[in-house]
């Protein structure tokens, strides 16, 4: 423990992958299983390096399916446990995500995604049945340290999986950070965890997604089980939405963005404000529950612009929040580097500024400036 405390507390340049692993361990995570895939790979590497130091376990699983299964078992014992991948790898885990949610196990999932096209996967889920995951989207490494720890807290508090949505920049940008444990308050006792001690006592435990109860115990039934989980998710929806907003009061154009690209947008909006333009921004920190109230507050603007690095997924939630009170227009789009890691020409403050200004001056129907021919960004 001391080693990690020292490692984490020392403020230094640290890439997001390392910060996420150290923040997880600071939050009490003692089990991680994953399968390498860019840009998630280094998260696994750092867990493999640091978890044994605190008596934890990191397994380089033979597949994503097995990684999530191993985390499932660790969670069942009451341990704080996590898994992760890119969206591609998480596609393989969806069946388990659905069932782990119905078994009410507090899984933390990291998606170090290749861009923002996994928004639907994260917020709607690719698994079967009625389930939801809390989704936290850090804007930078400092916030990743906080939200990673919050993820473990919220997972335990709600007995529901929490997904942390980052990207290539979250994984690999180095920032000066220190990993200080954050106390988010008490969480319920894990009296449901299995340790074998109740075997043979007449009160053995059963962790089942199927709404089954041991013979002699109060029967649950699948319908009542599912209704209870849905009620819990409605309560999460009511209480856990988070967003950062800026300059909304008199904004004529409001830009909505999440994650690393929101950092570029925030910078653009600040610069434009200094130049006297009445623009503002909303940054959903939780993608589910979606901060609909914060976004609805932007509906007084002349135009709501959505900047996201996908064909348009976040924009659906923005439209649902705005409910037709203002035109909602997408100013992002498909943009990636040659390797498909989601770091493309659109991730550039000048390009974003041109697009925000086009909509700000010309309204929702304004033509967007074309992408620059020269690749001004990393590739």
């Amino acid at each position: 423990m001391t080693t990690i405390a020292v490692r984490g507390a020392e403020r230094r340049l640290m890439e997001g992958s390392e910060a996420i692993a150290l923040a997880s361990i600071a939050a009490g995570c003692r089990f991680f299983a994953g399968y390498p895939m860019t840009p998630f790979t280094e998260v696994l590497e750092h867990f493999a390096r640091y978890l044994p130091e605190v008596g934890g376990t990191c397994i380089n699983a033979e597949s994503e399916l097995e990684a999530v299964g191993m985390a499932w078992g660790a969670l069942a014992t009451g341990a704080r446990a996590a898994t992760g991948s890119t969206g591609q790898g998480l596609s393989l885990m969806q069946e388990s995500f659905a069932e782990i949610t119905l078994a009410e196990l507090p899984l933390v999932i990291f998606n170090l995604a290749r861009g923002q096209g996994d928004y639907f996967q994260a917020t709607r889920g690719g698994g079967h049945g009625d389930y939801r995951h809390l989704v936290l989207a850090p804007v930078d490494i400092t916030e990743a340290v906080e939200l990673t720890q919050l993820a473990f807290h919220l997972a335990d508090r709600w007995r529901n999986p929490v997904l942390v949505y980052g990207d290539y920049l979250t994984a690999h940008v180095e920032e000066s950070v220190s990993v200080d444990p954050i106390d988010f308050g008490p969480v319920p006792d894990k009296d449901w965890a299995v340790d074998g001690a109740t075997t043979g006592t007449g009160h053995a435990k059963l962790l089942s997604p199927l709404g089954l109860a041991k013979f002699g115990a109060e029967p649950i039934g699948i319908e009542a089980h599912l209704r209870r989980i849905v009620a819990k998710q409605h309560e999460i929806e009511r209480t856990e939405a988070r967003a950062e907003t800026g300059y909304l009061d008199d904004a004529e154009t409001v830009v909505v963005a999440f994650g690393s690209p929101a950092r570029f947008v925030r910078s653009v909006v600040r610069d434009l404000r200094e130049a006297g333009e009445r623009v503002g921004f909303v940054r959903p920190i939780t993608l589910w529950p979606f901060p609909a109230d914060a976004v609805a507050a932007a509906a007084g603007a002349r135009t709501v612009a959505v900047f996201e690095l996908s064909a348009g997924q976040l924009i659906d939630d923005v439209r649902l929040a705005v409910l037709g009170r203002a035109p909602v227009v997408g100013i992002g789009g498909i943009s990636t580097d040659g390797s498909g890691f989601g770091v493309g020409r659109l991730l550039d403050v000048e390009t974003i500024r041109d697009r925000v200004l086009a909509v700000h001056r010309g309204g929702a129907d304004a033509a967007l400036p074309p992408l620059p021919d020269n690749e001004r960004t990393l590739w």
């Binding site: 097995e66 078992g73 997604p209």
Partner: protein, 288 residues
Amino acid sequence: MPTLDTSTEPSGARRVGDLTPDLLLTGEHHLCPGCGEPLALRCLLDTITDLEVTTQTIGVVGIGCYTAFTTSIDVDLVQALHGRAPSVATGIKRMRPDAVVFTLQGDGDMVNEGLQEVLHTAARGEAVTCVLLNNGVFGETGGHMTATTVLGQRTKNTIDGREAEYHGYPILIGDLISRLEGASYVARGSVHNAGAVARTKKMVRRALESQRRGDGFSFVEVLTMCPTGWFIPTGESPEYLHETLGAVHVMGELKVDGRVKTTDELHTENVARQREVEARLAAGGLDG
């Protein structure tokens, strides 16, 4: 036709002994008449009691007819997805190294859906015990071909019997696992008669003992009757099991103390065992 009144015990009835396993909460179940799975379950539950590891035992159950056991046995259990129990067991064991951890899976679960799970877990040498209930069909869906269905066996989607040319060959999962360095104990039992049940129970015991010693991965496959899924009369199913599945998935200890035995060796051993039993019967019986 006269009927027997079974609402009360007949006068003069005498209970000779209660053979219910300690870890069974209820005898109520939804399994078909003639199902072999309760016999395999009894081998497992009785062994946990015999080894006095009751209050440190955790099970992980797959999806199949035996999923019904999750509510009826007094064991801390985690319900896994179809095929995924070995990974869940891995996570449990790594967090609770002192626990005795087993999985309960069918052939559809383990050998079809989750084949890589059990192989990887064995190769990793995880100190868990996987128990396979192998009847060569998907019993729960009504008798469909699995990866262990033997050639010639009729199932709902091999109506004229499994043909190698069209359906491929069965996987002998115990043989596969026995070749992996991480596997310490591998055995294949059966529940087609009382002798086989007794042998199977010993196998389960050796597997759990191996786990407790930390030797590595242990595995017990148990051939079980499924008259419903096989479309044969209940009374004929033990013999059918022995003569069809049992002739291919040969009973015996496939790996003990690092030594692997081939199916031919097991067959030779079984013939010798049968001859010995016959000789003892001819000499006056099996007593002593």
